[in-house]
């Protein structure tokens, strides 16, 4: 049996083989997940920038007033509903009050739900342009795009499983993990890419382990259904039993069928506020409003490492507290903590930035791995022998993947400002622009000489991000000067981040310049980023 692939060597050699292939096989999907997921950590902030019609600072009111406004709106707009839900603006969430009703009969458009954002005066604030916002980027990191949701989550799941194995085997392979971390040899061709790969991996190693494992836990029964099916059966009762175990008291009792007045929220709210002094009320839910079996659920905002805040239940007619809240079992608390770590809901601004940067380091780890793989194959070729077409293709598509996706994201932001505000399917077209730009990047990488293509695409990326605040200023009033003047640091932060990113891309572009003096300074610099590929042209 051939041993030239390194599979059946010593333990670390075998793991190196496994690490390489696990990382490479689905690296395109993983890179997409890491880039879009990183933006997801600022989904609300990106949303705010992409909806310039929304006010910089939202009006606010007391929880009692906002709840009264929210339920008043729902009773007027959706009088026949089995559930009302009012979420208050707490923390970095949406600036307005979010109201939701589960309708008993479909509307004219066939919808079975009403979902709206309103201001403290009870007016719908859906005046903002139709946009995917930050949530579209966030959603794509687990649901992808242009494919059914069920298929997408399994593609993402398999990719995450590969990533998890690649990380574990990567740790096994790097016996000098800390020494490797402090080693960066610039201008040494393949060695430089290996150092870059090591640094980006080790720097964010705890994040990588956490994010991949927690990603699998998100869809635990979809990705690993065998134990559930064999242990508890495949019927709906088993699933209900499992979900009741994980979230006790979640299921609402059936309606009685006896009409009753709409529940009075104020009494239960006062009880909840007395029980949680200093905590903010996050949402209030009313099951079976207008029925004698109505139940009021009040939940406070998340505190500590968890996904959901504590909640209390009250009788909708008497306002008396129902059975004391059942705490989740330790295994459910563990998975809740793991998921909270993944989402970073508890994170303040600085920690959120750490998440974002760690996510980008994950993308950098994948990108350097891709480049290293191609570089290794090229270094094995004799200079006089032309590279195989397949290797040339891999090198070019690497460019389309690595730079093309950020180009697509830039195009997405541009589309938000440039597409007509009243355009049909506008949000969908923003995403079409992202994928069109990404596709063009692949075509450009294939059409141009590789070294030039790298420089041109990085230059375009720098220009797109550099001009983004200017396009914003030309097309809206929510530009950098106004944002700073109004103290809207979220919008200003977006523009400033775009400028910083453009600056970084300018530095990369400069680094890619074929300057002879640079070659003397760093003798191996010509090896970096395929500069030895002129023969391909």
């Amino acid at each position: 049996m051939s041993n030239n692939t390194g599979l059946h060597g010593a333990f670390r050699q075998s793991m190196s083989w496994l690490h390489t292939w696990c990382g490479l096989v689905l690296s395109l999907v993983l890179y997409f997940i890491f880039i879009t997921g990183s933006f997801g950590y600022f989904n609300y902030e990106i949303d705010h920038w992409m909806k310039p019609e929304n006010p910089s600072i939202s009006e606010t009111a007391s929880a009692d007033d906002m709840l009264e406004t929210g339920f008043g709106y729902l009773r007027e707009e959706a009088p026949a509903a089995s559930r009302y839900f009012v979420t208050l603006p707490v923390g970095r969430g949406d600036p307005g009050i979010r109201v939701f009703a589960q309708l008993e009969e479909p509307t004219d458009s066939g919808a079975m739900r009403l979902s709206e954002q309103i201001n403290v005066k009870g007016e719908a604030t859906s005046v903002a342009r139709d946009t995917g916002g930050g949530n579209a980027l966030y959603r794509m990191h687990y649901a992808l795009h242009y494919m059914p949701y069920d298929l997408a989550i399994y593609i993402v799941g398999v990719s995450t499983l590969f990533m998890f194995l690649a990380i574990i085997t990567g740790i096994i392979v790097h016996k000098n993990i800390f020494k490797d971390f402090f080693t960066l040899r610039l201008g040494k061709g393949q060695r430089s890419w290996l150092d870059g790969h090591n640094i980006s991996s080790v720097l964010a190693l705890p994040f990588m382990l956490m994010i991949t494992y927690s990603g699998l836990v998100f869809y635990e029964f979809e990705y690993s259904p065998g134990t559930l099916f064999l242990g508890m059966g495949v019927d709906q009762n088993s699933l209900d039993e499992m979900f009741e175990h994980l979230r006790p008291g979640r299921t609402a009792p059936d309606p009685s069928g006896n009409p009753a007045p709409f529940p009075d929220i104020s009494g239960p709210l006062a009880q909840a506020q007395a029980q949680w002094p200093g905590s903010e009320i996050r949402f209030v839910q009313v099951d079976h409003p207008g029925d004698a079996a109505a139940v009021i659920t009040i939940s406070r905002s998340v505190e500590g490492l968890g996904r959901r805040g504590a909640s209390l239940k009250f009788d909708g007619i008497t306002g008396a507290p129902l059975s004391p809240p059942q705490s989740a079992p330790p295994n459910a608390a563990f998975s809740g903590a793991v998921l909270a770590l993944h989402e970073g809901r508890f994170a303040n601004t600085w920690l959120r930035w750490a998440y974002f940067i760690s996510g980008l380091l994950g993308a950098a780890m994948i990108a350097t791995g891709l480049l290293l793989w191609a570089k290794k194959r090229r270094s094995k070729l004799r200079p006089t022998v032309p590279a195989p077409t397949s290797l040339v293709f891999v090198e070019r598509t690497n460019l389309g993947i690595i730079v093309g996706l950020p180009l697509g994201v830039a195009a997405y932001f541009w589309a938000n400002r440039l597409l007509p505000v009243d355009m049909n399917n506008r949000a969908e077209w923003e995403l079409h622009c992202l994928f069109l730009m990404w596709g063009l990047s692949f075509m450009h990488a294939g059409a141009r000489e590789l070294r030039r293509a790298w420089r041109e695409q990085v230059a375009l990326l720098a220009v797109l991000f550099l001009l983004l605040p200017i396009v914003n200023a030309v097309t809206t009033d929510a530009h950098l000067v106004n944002s700073l003047a109004q103290g809207d640091w979220v919008r200003a932060g977006f523009d400033l981040t775009a400028l910083v990113f453009a600056l970084i891309m300018c530095l990369v572009w400069r680094k890619l310049a074929p300057a002879p003096a640079r070659s003397v300074r760093y003798p191996g610099a010509s090896e970096v980023l395929g500069r030895s590929n002129e023969a391909d042209a």
Binding site: M15, W17, T227, H245, S335, S390, F435, G439
Partner: protein
Amino acid sequence: MLSTLAGCAWFWSMENTIKDEAANVSSRYRWNIAARVLLAFLGAFVWISVFGAMLATAVARLGWMPIAQGVHIMTLFSYVAWCAIAVWVFYEQRLGRVLKWMLSSGCVFSLCLYALK
């Protein structure tokens, strides 16, 4: 769509690069790799499912915890166990040994699960 096509082409091209590089690799070796991939993914998945269900049912029978809790804990643990099995499958030189061990222990766990149900 363009991106998807380009991605597929990239994957195909990468595969061709491997073929170019490993032209001297025997077909036996390829089958060996394919078998390991199947064993590491599908085999390990089935083995972990049976093992997890058996253990969860056993602890529920002993009254240590509800079956839902046992199943959930084993599901959370399954990814780590899968990873360990995959590492072993790709390290072990004699694939038959892995197969025998997984089949025999899997059969024992299945019988235990059947008896406990």
